[in-house]
């Protein structure tokens, strides 16, 4: 069983090396400032992989590598004490001595959101800058989420008939 798992991990790692290539023109910004990555991000199966260390530093997150070597753990350095493990070969990938993960897997557990400006341009939004989430019915009683209006400037005009 142990052999089978190890074999699978190796195949994944090779696949990553063979089919993913570094792309230098990905632009990721936070607070309107462009992030400079320690290594070029990688586009794999239409999903962006980015170096964990650079991104976490920008977001104020800590990266830990337990002795087992099977995962990296990303922790909130603030009050929440939230830690998220990313298994190597599954959610994190060592490529040319750099540990990568999906952009979304790094930011989402900590409440950050990503806004896709174009195929190669993304803005990370801090949770404290986001409008609070809500769901309300429209006049036909269809539920609408505030997130349904992403990509458009939205004015909430809060009004009553009285």
């Amino acid at each position: 069983m142990t052999k089978l798992i190890l074999t699978t991990c190796v195949i994944l790692s090779i696949a990553t090396t063979l089919y993913a290539s570094p792309v230098s023109d990905l632009k990721v910004s936070i607070d309107s400032k462009l992030i400079t990555f320690s290594a070029s991000p990688i586009l794999k199966n239409d999903v962006w992989l980015v170096p964990i260390d650079t991104l976490c530093k920008q977001l104020g997150l800590k990266v830990e590598s337990p002795d087992s070597g099977k995962m990296v753990v990303i922790c909130d350095s603030g009050e929440s004490e939230l830690c998220v493990p990313l298994n190597l070969g599954e959610h994190a990938f060592n490529i040319d001595n750099v540990t990568y993960a999906k952009l979304i897997d790094i930011i989402e557990p900590f409440g950050f959101e990503i806004y896709k400006i174009s195929e190669t341009e993304f803005e990370i939004v801090r949770p404290e800058h986001l409008a609070p989430h809500f769901i309300l019915p429209d006049l036909d009683i269809n539920p609408k989420r505030l997130q349904d209006f992403r990509g458009k400037k939205t004015l909430l005009y809060i009004w009553g008939s009285w």
């Binding site: 959101e113 019915p137 008939s161």
Partner: protein, 160 residues
């Protein structure tokens, strides 16, 4: 809301907030209020007293739509949400919600009692105040036009 929406030939989306969810989220004491949110879901300006009949307000909104630099300027100026955690306000909100539920199941007297307690805790909350008036005097609110003259007179009489 449907009659107002249809009369305006509105192309925007109208949502119905019967639970005062937005009032709680943004700590609103009165309406109308505006909240501006950009393409990325960021709060740009909130909540602010809004009157779309004013030329200045429309000009500001048009500038926001057409000028990305203005959005960036507003983002720089926006302060983090200052949602009140005042225990009295929290209790007032809870009592306001309880009153709504009581009214829905036909317990009007009990609902009014909860709303009066809520208003005593948060006396400047005009959403609660008008809710009480609307249930006490539905003819001034739901028979055609809203009678704002009556509301002014009522306010003066309550001050005495």
């Amino acid at each position: 809301m449907r009659p107002w929406h249809d009369k305006a030939n509105a192309e925007f989306v109208t949502l119905v907030d019967s639970q005062n969810i937005l009032g709680n989220l943004f700590n609103l004491k009165a309406i109308p209020y505006g909240v501006m949110i950009d393409e990325a879901g960021r709060l740009v300006k909130f909540p602010f007293s809004i009157n779309v009949a004013k030329k200045e307000t429309l000009a500001m909104l048009e500038k926001w739509l057409s000028d990305p630099a203005y959005n960036a300027t507003l983002l720089n100026d926006v302060k983090p949400a200052n949602i009140s955690q005042n225990p009295k306000v929290i209790e007032a909100n809870a009592r306001f919600q309880l009153g709504r539920t009581l009214l829905e199941i036909g317990k009007k007297t009990e609902a009014m009692a909860e709303w009066r307690k809520a208003l005593a805790l948060d006396p400047k909350n005009w959403i609660i105040h008008k809710q009480i008036w609307a249930v006490e005097h539905p003819d001034k609110f739901y028979d055609g036009n809203v009678d704002y003259g009556w509301q002014k007179a009522q306010l003066e009489s309550e001050k005495r």
